[in-house]
Amino acid sequence: MKVLGKTKTEKDFIEIFLSEILSITAGVIAGIFLAGITEKIELIAGLFILFPGLLEMHGNIYGSLSARFGNFLLLGNLNNKYKLKSFVKENVFASIFLILIVSFFLGLTAYLFTFFVFGVENKIIILVSVLSSFISSIIEIPLTIYTTLWLFKHNLDPEDIMGPYVTSIGDIISILSIVIMVGVLI
């Protein structure tokens, strides 16, 4: 099957590969910010335990939000304003609630790991987890919704692009939030 003169495979390859390259570049930018606080990372026990979970949580929640919204649009619901408004509102509240609860659990897990395994008590790790996640959600949720909508309206497949986009933008924003929180709290 041909879409815009390209086969579906070529279109998928180009869209996924380019978005992957862009997102990796963004990930490396996030890594540069992270490298800026290596001295503090050494001091904060448990930050590396928190790290994969925190970044994944952002990807999971905003990735799912984007996937749900993408499916909602693909099923032809864009012109039903009432349905669209209600869908977005409920998804936003659910996402914020999930972010707060899950980030608390992540912080608690990192705290318990460091306490029981390494014998270090560091309650601040819970605060770093919750506050940095909340700060980043204020920016990431509207960004995810508007970008999915924009891609859909421009005949681009949100499924190919939003995964990498959400996680890479999320990485930069999350790491900046962590850097800010570490700076404020430590």
Binding site: G27, V28, P52, G59, A67, E90, L98, T167, S168
Partner: protein, 184 residues
Amino acid sequence: MIGKKILKESLKVLILGSLISSLGGFALENVKDKILLFLPLVIILPALANMIGHAGIIFVSKITTYFYTGKLKLNNIESKQVMHLFFLLLIIFSLASVYVTILTIFVSYLKGFSFNFIFGLKMLITVFLTTVLIVFLVSFVAIIGWKYTIKNKIDPDDLLIPITTSIADLGSFILFSLLVFLLF
């Protein structure tokens, strides 16, 4: 209604996923001193976590759309279309692993990190093997989990993406930490 459904389907699985991912983080924490010693290993971490997330989101959302649009049947998940998607991701992520390694070393060099050919090779081996494992893990977990979600009438986007990426997180960061421990 939608919000409650999302919370009901997502909360437990996100918490479970976070706990699984934290185990991967625990592996990282164990080689923290080595990672902090080599700047490129710090810089590459978010990009690596990023790639795990992408692979999971793309694979799950694609097969879900194939199903909803009638291109995929529950009893035919190992179809040609799914295999095709697997190989597509394998090629893309292999190329991406080479790109991320070169970019990270280049950025680290600009920040004053001195490296040699052996270091570059070790870094490439570490990232490439971790990336290949990511694609295998994501596809394997997604295919098994997808059948479960569809049979139990659960939205795969809510359940499967967190679980797939968390298990991939765990496996990939354990392998990454192990390779860092052995090679650096």
